[in-house]
């Protein structure tokens, strides 16, 4: 019994040691961000430079825009980086956030199987493409997770005058309730079309027969905004450190770091703090 207790004690000691070494670091802030800036590798590219120059650790909690804003609204983040103008406006209207600044833009694309049952590959009109997909009853994967991409998809369908729903027998419209990567995995597996941000698509590793179907539509613009927490509603947030990161992201150094990030030779994010799109 004694040796058993001793071993248990030793195990607990080792475990706590491992934990405390992981927890021991200087000042840190929580950045609630959308998944695309994390999954595409942009934040891994940017944040070490920021941390080196300021000593501030940035802990990125990457979620869909809807969930990231909800996390911040509960007071669990110090700064947000998201891409859904409507949800952002609501977040600010409700007093959670303040002073949004655009840091970068890129675009959304519709990807689809190379068999292209809806005959939309190579076109540049998102609404026409969605109408064609619906008319062909070709499988379409929807995120269904209230992310920025999901919100845009819903807006596009509304604009196309056709809101697909399972309740009305649209079996081809598949709401997977998952992140961008999960949606691309599902689309690859089901030979389906889906709406993706270009950053996640370019760095995605399981494309199978998927390829870009529709790009270059003005309605597919994707803007990334950083929003400070409003100190009146969220006094608990670490405003000074968050402001440093925000200011770094819109500074010349931060902006050129954003523009310098490439995957497979392609620029993923166009810096736009100076001239917001």
């Amino acid at each position: 019994m004694k040796t058993f207790t001793r071993r248990l004690g030793l195990a607990a000691g080792l475990a706590l040691l491992a934990l405390s070494s992981a927890a021991a670091n200087a000042q840190s802030i929580v950045l609630a961000s959308t998944t695309s800036v994390q999954d595409s590798g942009l934040l891994n590219h940017l944040l070490p430079a920021f941390t080196a120059s300021t000593g501030i650790q940035v802990r990125v909690v990457a979620q869909g825009t809807g969930q990231a804003l909800a996390t911040a609204a509960r007071g669990d983040a110090d700064l947000v980086l998201v891409h859904d103008p409507e949800a952002e406006a609501k977040f600010i209207r409700e007093g959670h956030g303040t002073d949004p600044r655009q840091i970068a833009w890129n675009d959304f694309i519709i990807v689809g199987p190379s068999s292209d049952p809806a005959k939309v590959v190579g076109t540049h009109d998102a609404l026409a493409a969605l109408k064609a997909i619906a008319a062909a009853k070709a499988p379409f994967v929807s995120r269904g997770d209230k992310s920025g991409t999901d919100a845009l998809e819903k807006r596009l369908w509304r604009a196309a005058g056709r809101q697909p729903s399972l309740a009305e027998g649209d079996q081809w419209y598949r709401d997977i309730g998952g992140g961008m990567g999960a949606a691309l995995n599902a689309a690859a597996g089901m030979n389906a079309y889906t709406l993706s941000d270009r950053g996640t698509w370019l760095s995605f590793g399981n494309k199978q027969s998927l390829k870009i179907a529709v790009e270059g539509d003005k309605g597919l613009l994707n803007r990334y905004d950083v929003i400070l927490m409003d100190p009146k509603k969220h006094p608990e947030a670490k405003h000074d450190a968050a402001l440093k990161l925000r200011d770094w992201l819109i500074s010349d150094v931060g902006q050129s770091a954003i523009g310098a990030y490439r995957v497979h030779g392609e620029v993923l994010f166009n810096p736009s703090a100076r001239a917001p799109k």
């Binding site: 058993f4 071993r7 475990a15 040691l17 934990l19 802990r59 007071g75 669990d76 399981n206 608990e236």
Partner: protein, 222 residues
């Protein structure tokens, strides 16, 4: 597959493995600290409501991790009752979540083992003059090899879990990213072979832990 070997050799990967083990071992220790006495107590003492507690411990074997994660999230969030602790999105919150999940498993398996032993040897132990509670250490020593399985089951639940720690830990790179959340992340990036490779590493680590525990357990038996 070259990406897999590069990943395996990186500092980041070592941190991920260390954090996985640190969090899950801490959670297992917590679960044993609560579940072992609780399970044994339920086996030897009779009091009104005992059956209900045993049924409860067994029912909680099926506790959905994502629900535990959500409940802890609401408790630990800044707008929740325990928000002042600042524990959300830290390894501590993950330890708590895994301990909540592992404790019922440990308690239920300890109860099963000690109840059997109590039935067999309870008479003899009490003839020796020990009160039921006094008999608990004896029972634990008697059943230690089988109780080891209870501990390992608790550890298995903890280290394999992803739903709860994703919610309360946030899968923060270099801070709260564990083996399972890294696998989920690589899957979502479409790096399926890397994700699967990490999965095999996780299984290998579990086998190593289990083998070590059995070696220690049989060592204590001689």
């Amino acid at each position: 597959m070259s990406e897999f070997w590069t990943t395996l050799g990186s500092d980041e990967f070592r941190r991920i493995v260390a954090l996985s083990l640190g969090v899950s071992l801490s959670a297992t220790v917590l679960a044993i600290a609560v579940g072992l006495p609780l399970g044994a107590w339920l086996a030897v003492c009779s009091f009104p409501g005992r059956r209900a507690l045993v049924v409860m411990a067994n029912a909680l074997l099926g506790l959905p991790p994502v629900v535990v994660g959500l409940a802890l999230y609401l408790l630990l969030s800044h707008s929740g009752p325990l928000g002042v602790l600042g524990m959300l999105f830290t390894p501590g919150a993950m330890v708590l979540a895994q301990a909540v999940l592992a404790t019922p498993i440990v308690a239920a398996l300890v109860h099963r083992t000690t109840a059997d032993l109590w039935e067999e040897y309870g008479g003899a132990l009490q003839v020796d003059g020990a009160s039921p509670l006094r008999a608990i250490p004896e029972l634990i020593v008697m059943g230690r090899t089988r109780l080891l399985t209870a501990g390992l089951a608790g550890f298995g639940r903890a280290i394999s879990e992803v739903g709860a720690i994703l919610v309360v830990g946030g899968n923060i790179a270099g801070y709260t990213r564990t083996m399972t959340t890294a696998i989920a992340l690589e899957t979502s990036k479409g790096n399926l072979s890397l994700a699967l490779g990490l999965g095999f590493v996780l299984i290998g680590i579990s086998i190593a832990i289990s083998a070590t525990a059995f070696a220690l357990g049989s060592g204590g038996k001689k």
